[in-house]
């Protein structure tokens, strides 16, 4: 085996309260595409940030071509031959393509730069005009330009952090063509992606992290999708109390609260069917980027769907905006509390009242708001229990409870919860799970999305399985195990023709 161009040995990195990386080692060979895999919080981004000098490791060594190096910052990483292209292109869209390739690289003779840029672009089969502003091109092209720039700064190691997350299929093929060419030139590529298909398509070897630890390093050819998913997810045991066994729920009525037929959105989620009955908890299971959130957003009108039909209580509806969905009794707690949920400047009480007040309009102020707020603060045990506390200062779990209270106050028929327990402590997590179960017992329909399969299984009556932006199966939660769901995700080949079309 050729000696590795890059080696990371025994890297550890801790943040307050979290051990992000624990004795992780990693090897990258010249002329290979190496995928770094792991679920949320596995430590992928931390490892990349240590490699690119954004973070300093607490322990461990980085060796480049056998020599130990100390990487003090992104600039030093670049000088050492490690270039990174991030998910969001960090070039300047208002500058020309040529300027973007050469800016910040010391003295540049701009007349020659344009010719040199044209030459580089041709080498990568990129038929674009170096004189035009970068912003005139698609994100995919911008990303390729970023790669051209990175490689031209004599990169020996190229780090691609989720480069395909916003690309369509043709653009991915184009990116992979460039990656293969670089691999032939001997560049070592570290590739991070949530799309399993792409990992199997392009990578030579795979390193898997889980909970900040190294699981192992594998030849891609020796892996099946099932074994890879097994390595990534493992079995996480949690000290959560047992809830009553789900699966015993029989729908009260034939009339579902919500029925979706062929609802889909191009570039978001392939058309899917779904029914949710009153008193039923439906779980969405799938790996990160599988389209869980995208599907939920369509049901709430947060994004518009471009196909299919939704009915609520048997009546066909069109949800053009969240406001319309709320009028029909749908509520949605988004995945990202800080940017999409909370108004951090406002108080706890104001945040709780927001959805109800928006539904009433500005003229009719909710009169008994103080009582309502106090009642829900007590019911959900929000701490501090002061309604005038600034919402941004609360802990993650309490912020999540504020958002739950905001929606419960509107008495929705269907409650969509996108990762309601992410990033909150075990106690609050159990409380929220219990709350969901009791809400369903009261007759509410709940759509529950979580990356943790155990959690989905603990409270859902049925589970929709998603993969690569498609809903691939519906499983009744009777004797269902995480392994069975993972096997379904790994199974593959069940995508319908319609789904293929919409994923483009």
């Amino acid at each position: 085996m050729t000696p590795p161009i890059l080696e990371m040995r025994g890297i550890s990195k801790a943040f307050p309260g979290v051990r992000a990386l624990d004795d992780v080692s990693f090897r990258l060979l010249p002329g290979e595409v190496h995928a770094l895999m792991g679920e949320n919080g596995a430590g992928k981004s931390t490892l990349i940030k240590v490699l690119t000098g954004v973070y300093t490791a607490d322990a461990g060594d980085v060796l480049l071509a056998g020599n130990p190096v100390v990487i003090g910052g992104p600039h030093q990483a670049q000088e050492a031959g490690i270039s990174t292209v991030y998910q969001e292109v960090n070039l300047c869209p208002n500058l020309s393509v040529a300027e973007n390739i050469f800016i910040g690289r010391g003295k540049v003779r701009w007349k020659q730069a344009r010719a040199r840029a044209a030459e580089l672009l041709t080498r990568f089969d990129l038929d674009i005009d170096p004189a035009l502003p970068l912003g005139a091109y698609s994100i995919a092209i911008q990303q390729l330009v970023a790669i051209v720039r990175a490689v031209d700064i004599s990169a020996k190691v190229l780090v691609l952090d989720e480069p395909t997350s916003s690309l369509d299929r043709d653009e991915v093929a184009r990116l992979f063509a460039v990656m293969r060419r670089l691999r032939e030139d001997g560049v070592a590529i570290l590739f991070v992606s949530h799309f399993l298909e792409q990992v199997f398509d392009i990578s030579d070897r795979v390193t898997v992290l889980r909970n900040g630890r190294l699981v192992g390093e594998y030849e891609t050819g020796a892996l099946t999708r099932a074994t890879l998913i097994g390595h990534m997810t493992g079995r996480v045991l949690e000290a959560l109390e047992e809830l009553h066994a789900p699966g015993e729920h029989a729908p009260d009525s034939a009339q579902p609260v919500l029925r979706a037929e062929g609802i889909g959105r191009k570039g978001g989620i392939a058309p899917f069917d779904l029914t949710i009955h009153s008193g039923e908890v439906v779980g969405f299971a799938g790996l990160l980027g599988s389209g869980r959130t995208e599907a939920a957003r369509l049901l709430f009108g947060a994004d518009g769907s471009d196909s299919g039909q939704l009915s609520i209580d048997g009546k066909p509806v069109t949800l053009k905006s969240p406001g319309a969905a709320i009028e029909h009794g749908v509520a949605f707690c988004p995945e990202n509390r800080k940017t999409e949920g909370l108004v951090e400047d406002l108080t706890v009480g104001e945040n709780i009242m927001l959805a109800l007040q928006a539904a009433r309009g500005w003229v009719r102020q909710v009169t008994d708001s103080d009582d309502l707020v106090r009642r829900w603060i007590t019911a959900l045990r929000i701490t501090p229990s002061d309604p005038d506390a600034i919402a941004g200062n609360l802990s993650g779990g309490n912020q999540q409870k504020v958002l739950l209270a905001r929606w419960l106050i509107t008495q929705p028929k269907l409650l969509i919860l996108d990762e309601p327990t992410r990033g909150i402590d075990v106690g609050a997590k159990a409380e929220i799970q219990k709350l969901v179960v009791s809400l369903a017992d009261e007759g509410k329909a709940v759509l529950f999305i979580s990356a943790e399969l155990e959690e989905v299984l603990r409270i859902s009556h049925k589970v929709e399985v998603l993969r690569d932006r498609q809903m691939i199966a519906e499983l009744a939660n009777e004797g269902l195990t995480p392994e069975r769901i993972l096997a379904t995700i790994a199974g593959g080949g069940t995508g319908t023709v319609a789904a293929e079309g919409a994923a483009q």
Binding site: S321, I326, F332, E340, V343, L346, E350, A355, A358, V363
Partner: protein
Amino acid sequence: MIKHRLFWPVVALVALLLGNRIVTPGFFSVEVKSGHLYGSLIDILLFGAPLILIALGMVTVIATGGIDLSVGATVAISGALACYIISDQANQGSVGGVLFAVALALVLSLALGLWNGMLVAWLGIQPIIATLILMVAGRGVAQLITSGKIITVNSPPYKLIGGGYWLGLPFAIIVVVVVAAITAVLVRRTALGLLIEAVGGNAEASRLVGIRSRSLIIMAYMFCALCSGIAGLMISSNIAAADGNNAGLWMELDAILAVVIGGTSLIGGRFSLAGTIIGALIIQTISTTIYTAGVPSYRVLVFKAVVVALVCLIQSPAFRAKVFRRRHKRPPPQPKAEVPASDSGDLEVSA
């Protein structure tokens, strides 16, 4: 009390007033002359009335996360239209005629606000650019109305708005009190204030709770333009003339300054009406000080700048912390400063 968010603006205003009292002994005296109240304090309120109005409009726009640069131009247009209509009337003293002119000027102001609001809320143009259009073009419109001349009017009913008295008080002050009261009721007794703060604080979260932010934003710009329109009437009424070129010139900057001094962040979200009024009063007090203290005209701008800088510094927590620490809390040099944190912690526990 020191934590109340109006504490430092009030301190700044009181300090300015006290400073004036020291320089001008009769500064606080208010007399009744022929049934009217007179005095420097009344002057501050009277001459500050247009700025208070505009600042009230500005703070609602800023709360939505926007800004309105066109308020000065709206002042000019509103005054120009009212004066043009009145000067065209056979009997300039007719109350009906003046009411008609005032109504038309205010309707036009609302239309200008609608224009700003549509550009921002429907077309998604950045507020600073969207309102810059009217800021520049508006002065041209005002000059079109006045045909480039200064239109003078001789209308006692019109004069009342900016220069007259009612119940012993300047009419302009009464207008401001009424507008401020209506605004406070609208904003705090309905959910308007909460919804505006939510939109300004987190636009995406507001969309996802079903707030119709477009109409709220348009309303804010229309309210701001209406306030500017009333201010324009006051200013032109006070000098009994419309000057399309100079009326309300640079008032947008004073209004923004008043909002910021009053403790409202330019980012949007939380806003304070009372703070904004205090901010406007601070700025007007500075202007009045310049006249009563007899600052030579060539020093006016520098004087104003220095005072504004001081007011801003007083309100800056970082600045206060620095000054405070330096004056009172410099710790005596400690030889044990090098002891690692964990050790010193143990020492404290055992002690």
